[in-house]
């Protein structure tokens, strides 16, 4: 019974993931560019969080495990943001 419930639970998450994929595709075709980008990347982050929390079981793990991957992620984001003035803004000069 418990096992069946687990499988159902994982299947429900999969339905959400597939739904979000189709939402992204629809947004890219129907919405104006800025709106589409917002929806597409918001959906991508939601999908990633759903997988991390429920398929990788981070929801039930100690927070330190999440920190192990979040710290390098923040470093990468920080590096990209720091380089924006040189590569993106500087390019227009």
């Amino acid at each position: 019974m418990t096992q069946a419930l687990t499988y159902t639970h994982y299947f429900r998450i999969w339905v959400w993931l597939v739904g979000l994929i189709f939402l992204s595709v629809l947004a890219s075709g129907l919405l104006p560019r800025e709106g589409a980008l917002l929806v597409i990347f918001a959906a991508a982050w939601v999908k990633a969080v759903l997988i991390a929390l429920y398929y990788m079981h981070l929801k039930y793990e100690r927070w330190q495990l999440a920190a192990v991957v979040l710290i390098p992620l923040l470093l990468v984001v920080g590096l990209a943001v720091t380089l924006v003035p040189d590569i993106v803004i500087g390019h227009g000069k």
Partner: protein
């Protein structure tokens, strides 16, 4: 002398964490992968924002193959986590079934990727065609190599350990963590390359 004794005592005492060492190791490995793919994606975004003509190049890509591949990879993630649930419930039959489906879906992903590459190359788009194509082949190629690695690991799990033992339970969990990470990477590559 006393210092040496204290040191020996420290070395002899196993590290005590509530997270199993193997799992912690897998998560550290995934952290290193975050820097690899994260760095590559950051370079792609910055280079794309700093130059023009990328949208036109991306328009040559077909949406059918990557959309199918996304569905295949998401489904394989579900079957992988179900394999983990099966091994925890000591259900060997379901474990083998879910692992086999995961392996087949992984192979399906690679076949679809190969078909997509053939299509692009038949149209004259190679890694040296332009910056977009260099990033496209580089990022998707590196990802495909990771999928191949995951398929091999899952296949070894499927072939070598036929019963749902405790060791197998841990191995399936670790392989699953890697497989889900590869899925998450694709979740970002798909919109970055095909939808924007």
């Amino acid at each position: 002398m006393e210092q040496a004794s204290t040191l020996n005592r420290h070395i002899a005492t196993p590290l005590s964490t509530s997270v199993p060492t193997g799992k912690l190791g897998v998560w550290w490995f995934l952290a290193s992968e975050v820097t690899v793919f994260g760095g590559l994606i950051a370079c792609y975004i910055l280079t794309r924002l700093g130059s023009t003509g990328w949208k036109e190049a991306a328009a040559h890509l077909s949406l059918v193959f990557p959309l199918l591949n996304t569905l295949v990879l998401l489904t394989s993630s579900m079957t992988m986590v179900m394999a983990h649930a099966a091994v925890e419930a000591k259900d060997s039959h379901r474990l083998r079934t879910f692992l086999m489906v995961t392996v087949l879906l992984g192979v399906g992903f690679l076949l679809l990727k190969a078909m997509e590459y053939s299509r692009e190359m038949a149209q004259g788009f190679f890694p040296h065609t332009g910056l977009f194509w260099a990033f496209y082949y580089g990022m998707t190629g590196l990802h495909a190599l990771h999928v191949l690695g995951g398929v091999i690991v899952n296949l070894i799990l499927l072939l070598t350990v036929p019963t749902a033992t405790e060791t197998q339970q841990r191995r399936v969990e670790f392989a699953g963590l890697y497989w889900h990470f590869v899925d998450i990477v694709w979740i970002f590559l798909f919109p970055l390359l095909y939808l924007t």
